[in-house]
Amino acid sequence: MSNIPSELKYTAEHEWIRIDGNEIVVGITDFAQNALTDVVWVELPEIDVHFNAMDSYASVESVKSVSEIYAPISGTVTGVNELLEDAPETINIDPYGNGWICKMTIDDVTQLEGLLDSNTYEELIGE
């Protein structure tokens, strides 16, 4: 049974989004880290680069596979979690906390309405 905090937003691509004022924080869900198994490498997006929603802008690699991470909304990357470069396993240990991947600005707040709430995401993963 995956942990799906109710205060976060989600995407069908198994990312979580925390809305933090004018910014969002993005990571991958507990379900995703469990499916990936041990993360061995994280490719972080570049800071100050603008991405459109659904652009592939990062990737998470386990011994099983490489998964693309898509920008959940359009915006500019303002910060990345450099801790993951040396300790990628943080994504497995603390996916919603220290395992965050990046921070982005919000181009258009209406895009946030398209994100899933915790109940919808729970239904999606069928648990």
Partner: protein, 505 residues
Amino acid sequence: MSDLFAFNGARGAGWSQPLPLIDKEVLISAIPAKLRRQNLPKWPRASEPEIVRHYTWLSNRNFGIDNGFYPLGSCTMKHNPRVNEKIVQLPGMDKIHPLQPDHHVQGLLAIYFEMQEMLAVCSGMDQVTLQPVAGAQGEFTAIRCIQEYHRQRGQGHRSKVIVPDSAHGTNPASASMCGYDIIEIPSGEDGRLDIDALKSAVGEDTAAMMITNPSTLGVFEHQIAEATEIVHSAGGQMYYDGANFNAIIGKTDPGRMGFDAVHYNLHKTFSQPHGGGGPGSGPIGVKSHLSQFLPTPIAGRREKIESDPKGVDDGYWYFWEDVGDSSIGKVQQWNGNAGAVVRSWAFYRRYGKELEKMSEHAVLNANYLRHKIMNPDPEIAEKIHVMPLNGAPADLVMHEFTLSLSPLKELHGVTGKDVAKRLLDYGVMAPTLYFPMIVPECLMIEPTETESKEVLDKFASDFHQILSEDPDIITSAPHTTDVKRVDEVWAARNLILKHPGNNSN
């Protein structure tokens, strides 16, 4: 014994260098002083018997199709008939050089021509090149041809290639190498192509769609004609990944399905020792509108005239034919992996017109093994912790099938990887693991047509045995191999790319 670098230092070598033809001092003075080596390199030095023993020892630790069953899905690890080796070792095949003039190599050219024709007929294409030496290189070559086709028609703005989420990873990689953006479309509930998703993905920017049929789930894409229609109406080209060609030969072909280009893996479908990166052969076939873009040269022939030398005496003169100015150029030095082409020709010639029997038996074996695994006898079923799930909800599969070990993971924490590793203890190669990614805890099994019913029965029985074992034994497997469970996570996180013994300067 450990590794080659254990042989080092002042030991005598099993060989001696010829003396240079130029004065040693002259040679040395030609190299700037700062670049001259100060000490002897620490290369391994060993006598000939030591080297022979070393490599024999290594080969004994290896596992291949000659050691046991090798059901590696999507890789088509079939038996390599020894007659292939006999033919490829004929002096006219393995003692020739690519630069020899056409009249020296009529036999090889005739084989190349016949292979081009045979592959064109089997795939419903118009022209084939045997130049690419791997499936992925074939993909790249074909997508480059499609790219040139679009450019010549003023359609160079087409920038996107569509791939289903069940595709081989090389498909998006090959398209990306050509500079295309990738659009991945999800599979439908039944694991097959989702036509609605395809409809919403195509547009004026669509360059091509890449798809394999049967899919990586081992099921036939019965909506393929509709899919090609959708892509063609949007102005895109259809590319057929021939990795699963073993399933359909003589029954249907990519041309009939509407494809414009296809690659073949001779090393899979037409038998050729492969794995570990080679030696492969990834020819491509295209419809006539793409043939002017193929890499150059291809094998051609004309009717013989009186002044021609004897040749192969079939009424034709064979030659390397230039493809022309629109060719994308060469993708490989010389003319592909000639040895792989000749072995595959020998394999196909043993079937001749009955080549379709190969595919029939491949599909029969896959369905038999799938049924056998999924329907254990009641007394065996009783001992099994939990049965795997079918990866695709199809009654029948093609040449391979997928199983999901998710139920076992949920019940006992035993993963697909654990079961795969435990299979090694039973003397079989682990099936393809965790692919396609749309099947959780996936094992992908392809028995090929060359295995007997007894081998398949034994595998099913071993598989059932594992499913009833103590979970601790499975999760700590393998127990009988030279190398036990390796820590893949540690290895991936702590990359060591240089051999610690290789400190030569």
